[in-house]
């Protein structure tokens, strides 16, 4: 049985029907991970621990107390701290770091215990590769090597959740967690032909997520379908008292609209389930810089949604271009401070030799951090410095509010916004590593939603002539995740882009 092409929804049925056990599924995927090392998608696996979890899950299933996710394997981005697996955030700074606690997301999705009696019961397969401290758009910034794109091993998998995306695309795990600070779930999902959602800021607890830019970081799933993402997000999101930015009213069933019409609880006209939906296409998202094949695929996606009943209109997000400079002021500012704890004193890398405290700091941090992380720490320290703070940090915060307000203006005309996820498909490894600014431009369509705190998702909508996947982005207003997933699900009922497998995998 080729379980690796199955969705979570399907595996859930197979487990419930006792066609397969969690232990069998877990062994199957562990074997695929062992065979699939060439993608460099995983940083740490611990088969004994995974199988022990699977046995516990099988016990729960046998007792009839399991939920829809019980016993299903999942892989976690290495930015989530885990007991039992190393947590490195893709950095040499945290090589072999062992966390004494599980991240909220990991605990919530994992096996139930005293502290988490309602946990989802999923089995952890291991930790996935990522750009160091989630800083990057290609996964080439990992201290443990780049991740290869399962659609073409010469290409990048995207980033920073590149390991999670490649692992799902290569069939090494049914689904994976990721985090998105400026596009890090949506862009690798798009580049690997997957579905991924970044929920509204505050939906998912950041406790145990190694912080990059605290006001932008948000966790979410990367999977094969909107339905799978809805299942995982429902289990991931809850109010967590340990995260002051966690929403008080966070837990909800994100699958609840999947089988409904946009404007009615039943789908009365099967051909037009989305009738009544207004989709706004921002002019700025289709301007210069967008690869023609991507533009065509996204426009075709829009047309298909129109065929399903949606009304298309043009909206404007005038400050889109400013999202890059604003992001590259604010995110590095927060990062420069968040990464100060990596000082060689209590944990993580410490230089072997030093003559005094200052040298210990300098050498430990110089050796432990990679080039992109250092670049962002420098930018962040600069923009927060005395005399520059007003001109950079404060100014960026003001524009951030304008960007958020622009979205609200657009949402007066439409229910959701549709555009590309990224300007182009996956590029060749190394093509942009010498030019950070080129790399930063890859996030032009995703950054603004993080700045505004809005939910957004990536949905496969086609391929270019080289058979590389293209994703379209759906952006919703605050807390509209269930609606985004509904639209994506209806689209996926009428298309098969999301079901395609790389030839090497199938």
């Amino acid at each position: 049985m080729s379980w690796h092409t199955a969705t979570v929804a399907l595996l859930s049925k197979a487990l419930a029907a006792k066609q397969v056990s969690s232990r069998e599924l877990t062994s199957y995927f562990l074997e695929r991970i062992a065979q699939g090392k060439r993608w460099n998608a995983f940083l740490d696996v611990n088969p004994a621990l995974s199988l022990a979890q699977a046995d516990l899950a099988d016990n729960i299933l046998a007792s009839g107390l399991g939920g829809p996710l019980t016993g299903i394997p999942v892989a976690h981005k290495d930015v989530f701290v885990t007991r039992g697996w190393h947590s490195t955030a893709g950095s040499k700074m945290l090589k072999d770091y062992q966390s004494p606690f599980d991240a909220a997301v990991v605990a919530r999705l994992g096996l139930p215990d005293e502290e988490n009696p309602t946990a989802a019961g999923m089995v952890c397969l291991g930790k996935t590769n990522m750009d160091e401290f989630a800083m990057g758009s290609s996964n080439e910034n990992s201290a443990y090597g780049a991740v290869l794109n399962p659609w073409n091993p010469a290409c990048v998998a995207g980033g920073s959740s590149g390991g999670s995306a490649a692992a799902v695309a290569a069939g090494l795990t049914p689904i994976a967690t990721g985090t998105d600070t400026g596009g890090s779930i949506r862009q690798p999902a798009a580049l690997c032909g997957l579905t991924g959602i970044k929920p509204s800021y505050g939906r998912v607890s950041r406790y145990g997520m190694i912080a990059y830019a605290s006001s932008l970081d948000q966790a979410g799933p990367i999977g094969k379908s909107a339905e799978d993402c809805a299942l995982l997000l429902s289990a991931m999101s809850f109010h967590d008292g340990r995260d002051s930015t966690s929403l008080a009213d966070s837990g909800e069933d994100y699958s609840r609209y999947l089988h409904q019409g946009w404007s009615e609880p039943q789908i009365n006209n099967a051909a037009k389930p989305l009738s009544g939906l207004r989709i706004g296409l921002p002019a700025e998202f289709f301007a210069a810089g967008l690869a023609p094949e991507v533009a065509q695929a996204v426009e075709a996606g829009a047309q298909q949604l129109a065929a399903l009943g949606a009304i298309l209109c043009t909206v404007t997000l005038p400050k889109t271009k400013l999202s890059i400079p604003v992001y590259y002021v604010l995110a590095p500012a927060e990062a420069s401070s968040n990464l100060s704890r990596f000082d060689g004193v209590r944990f993580g890398h410490r230089a072997a030799q030093y003559s005094d405290l200052q040298e210990m700091y300098k050498k430990s941090r110089s050796e432990g951090f990679g080039a992109e992380v250092k670049r962002r720490i420098l930018i962040g320290s600069y923009v927060l410095s005395h005399g520059y703070y007003d001109a950079y940090y404060l100014q960026a915060q003001k524009i951030r509010r304008i960007i958020a307000a622009d979205f609200q203006t657009a949402f007066e005309q439409c229910d959701v916004i549709l555009g590309p996820v990224a300007p182009d498909v996956a590029w060749l490894l190394g093509a942009k590593t010498q030019d950070p600014l080129q790399m930063y431009l890859a996030d032009i369509y995703t950054l603004s939603t993080n700045l505004a705190g809005l939910p957004a998702m990536s949905v496969p909508c086609g391929f270019n002539q080289n058979n590389l996947p293209i994703g379209m982005q759906l952006i919703g207003n605050y807390f509209a995740e269930a609606r985004l997933l509904q639209i994506a699900h209806q689209y996926q009922q009428a298309s098969d882009w999301h079901l395609r497998q790389p030839s090497e995998v199938a």
């Binding site: 989530f80 002051s244 930015t245 500012a333």
Partner: protein, 488 residues
Amino acid sequence: MEWEVVIGLETHTQLKTQSKIFSGASTHFGAPANTQACAVDLALPGVLPVLNRQAVEHAIRFGLAIGATIAPVSIFARKNYFYPDLPKGYQISQYEIPVVLGGQVEIIFNGESKLIQLTRAHLEEDAGKSVHEDFIGPHGEPSSGIDLNRAGTPLLEIVTEPVMRSAEEAVAYAKALHSLVVWLDVCDGNMQEGSFRCDANVSVRPMGSAKLGTRCEIKNLNSFRFMEEAMNYEIRRQIELIEDGGEVRQETRLYDPDKKETRSMRSKEDANDYRYFPDPDLLPLQIDQAWVAQVRAGMPILPDAVRNQWQKEFGLSAYDAQLLSQDRATAQLFNALVGLVGQPMAKVAANLVTGELASALNRANLAASDSPLSANDLAPLLERVADGTISNKIAKDIFTILWDEASTGQKSSTIDAIIDQRGWRQISDSGELARLIDQVMTDNAKLVAEFQAGKEKAFNALVGQIMKASQGKANPQQVNDLLRKKLS
């Protein structure tokens, strides 16, 4: 030239909470190193701060007590710098918008009341401690250790305007502030344990000048005596420096109590750029009117209200009222005592509490809250003096007996039993007194002659002799009256 001293104080007050300001770890003092530091305090990857409401309520309580504005919205900011005892590489503090704005603290200085204006008070977390002395590293080498038990302890940093004009005045303010925060029960006031420490900003300027001189900040003064010594040294140093043609450099200085001098720690140029910015892990602190009202409802009566009441209703002097309101336990004991013996005896009750009791507590190094003698123990003593059973002098001796019994845990005797056992009943029988007086007058004919020659002092000497002959048991007023009569 005449110089004017300008001092402002920043006081780090450790707030009395069970757990730390952003984590659930205990704040208990004195535990083995690093046993009270949880993942949040250690700044392990992935942890996040959660604000302790109790710390906020203490800040509100303080703000209300000093008539300050409680900011409806205040912001936590990160103060970024590297130091081994600062686990996150930043301290969470409040910068642009603190929780408490303005307000004033009343001090009595040179017998006069003065209001010290405050600029602000803000919440922040304490750092850990670096242990440099007697610390042995993992390989037996002399090393430095880090104890993070204190990391994350809640502090309220209370900042005055530069309004104090002498070291002594600044110390008077520090003492008044200390007694207020202890009174409010927001701080345990333990200076040895670092619960109350001051930084002093000191400058001098020519008398009459409106422009402030360059200031130096003396860090971490944790005793009133060191504070006064340090500021006075610093004032002399600055004046001498300027008079010798030099200039004061803006810098941070430390006080060395052994050498009794301040020395430079770092200059302004070496100061960190702290790169303050709002902490994205914490929402703005919102304090609505309901919360303020709730804290207000739970406030103890304030010391100045108590002092006013005592002065007005009991006729106490401002000085006595000040002494009795140093801490809440003393004030409560005094109030209880007056309740038992009656308002007309408030003054003698005050004398007992500020006199014998205060010195006994002082000698035993005890706080008033730990006094072995209660108002119930002390009331009969005052009553026996009032009804003439014993003299004041005897009352002091009985106090000592009661104190010794109570503090050594012996079975306490009743005051009447002590009086009877020791034959200390005051001699009020005028016949007996007259005999005593006659005897003393006969034995001290010289004094009698001197008095009759107009030397009033001789009268007091005679009274003294009579009291002595009675072993302190004679009623002094009666002795006075009888002697005066006999000599006239």
